[in-house]
């Protein structure tokens, strides 16, 4: 492995990384942050669907998605040009234009990757430059015994679908419908024996970059706490 290491240049910084591996994880390991939502370490075939990890590579005519670009010796990468920033900002605005953006009541508040990226790209979480589209989703899907899903918060990155597919029993989670109606859906009820593995697995909730998929136990206590807080506030206001 070690003799496969090559040196590449990223924003005037020299880093070493294994040749042929993807560029995005190499940058992240060297503390060069590139925003990303759909990539997960160890993916063989990244979907490159979020379009937030675009970078410029010398010799490439157009910006490329770094999560799918393989490292070669002597490559020169630019991650912080004006053009790249603009492209990423546009991708981000498109993402949040269908997102409900109610951070204060969200379980992922402060731990949300969308918030982190918004800060990094200097973009508001509620964009004014694109028309907001309220997707016709239910607020909450809780027919699974151990998971809850809030479709309006989902960015459809596909991380959960990926990790669920990696498991031996495979694919409880998958995308359903298409286009604007795409939704992540799970296909188990209490009586389905396979879903009992979910109780201890919860891998999908751990990789969710936002607050869309959560463990039912955690979510229930979070909502209870939220209600308590608002009740206290209300009381305080009166008194």
């Amino acid at each position: 492995m070690s003799d496969n290491l090559v040196t590449i240049t990223v924003d005037d910084q020299k880093i070493t990384a294994p040749v042929g591996s993807y560029l995005l994880p190499a940058c992240l390991e060297n503390d060069i942050y590139i925003p990303n939502l759909c990539f997960l370490e160890g993916m063989d075939d990244p979907p490159a669907s979020c379009r937030l990890c675009l970078v410029d590579i010398e010799g490439e005519a157009v910006p490329v998605a770094s999560c799918r670009y393989r490292i070669f010796a002597g490559m020169v990468v630019t991650t912080d040009s004006e053009e790249i920033l603009k492209l990423r900002q546009l991708a981000f605005r498109l993402l949040v234009s269908t997102n409900d953006g109610s951070c204060r009541t969200c379980i992922a508040n402060h731990g949300c990757e969308l918030q982190k990226i918004a800060k990094f790209l200097h973009q508001p979480l509620k964009t004014k430059r694109l028309r907001h589209i309220d997707r016709e989703y239910p607020e909450l899907v809780d027919n699974h015994p151990f998971l809850v899903y809030e479709p309006k918060k989902c960015v459809l990155c596909g991380r959960c679908v990926h990790v669920c597919g990696q498991l031996e029993k495979g694919y409880k989670l998958d995308f359903a419908n298409r286009g604007m109606d795409t939704i992540v859906s799970f296909f188990s009820s209490d009586s389905d024996p396979a879903s009992h593995d979910c109780e201890t697995c919860l891998a999908c909730t751990e990789v969710c970059p936002v607050g869309a998929l959560s463990s039912k136990v955690k979510w229930t206590s979070f909502v209870a706490e939220l209600e308590m807080k608002s009740a206290q506030k209300h009381k305080g206001g009166q008194g």
Partner: protein, 190 residues
Amino acid sequence: MLDQLLAALNETERAAVDEEEYQILQAVVDELPAFSHEVSQLIPILQEIQGKHGYLPRLALDMVADHVQTTIGKVYGIATFYNQFRFNPPGRNPIKVCLGTACHVKGGEILLENFERRLQIKVGETSDDREYSLERVACIGCCALAPAVVVGEKVEAYVTPSKVEGIITEIEVRNEMAAREQAKNDATSE
């Protein structure tokens, strides 16, 4: 196999499987062995089931998943991706609202909403009495008649929201007349 699947359902889900659906599922059990177990057969199998029985019952998807050795998630994902597949039995009067480019521009979306409100069903659903089902289609090739709606086999041209009521009334009148005719015939034959 079918009994196993039924046993895995919860109470309400099992109650929802009526005699007719059970018959279909039984037929699907017999039809499946004709197909190979390749996952590439997934869409042909779904098409065959829908072609024969008019729609894809939920449990049939489970059976197909088992047959091609994939998961119900994947089958459902694919079946919902294509407009071709439906999950409710078709109505006696399938109403297809065209939302191709021309009809879209001419307000097909509004017509769809009107039908949804009038029939109290959502697109892709069938009314409880199985009289109507509502679908959206991409283009029926009648762009010059936009916005167009296909009721059964008949193309309705230049449809406006005010015509929606008329289309439904026409079907109701036709049904009523057929029912009276039937009654008259019954009376004379007795």
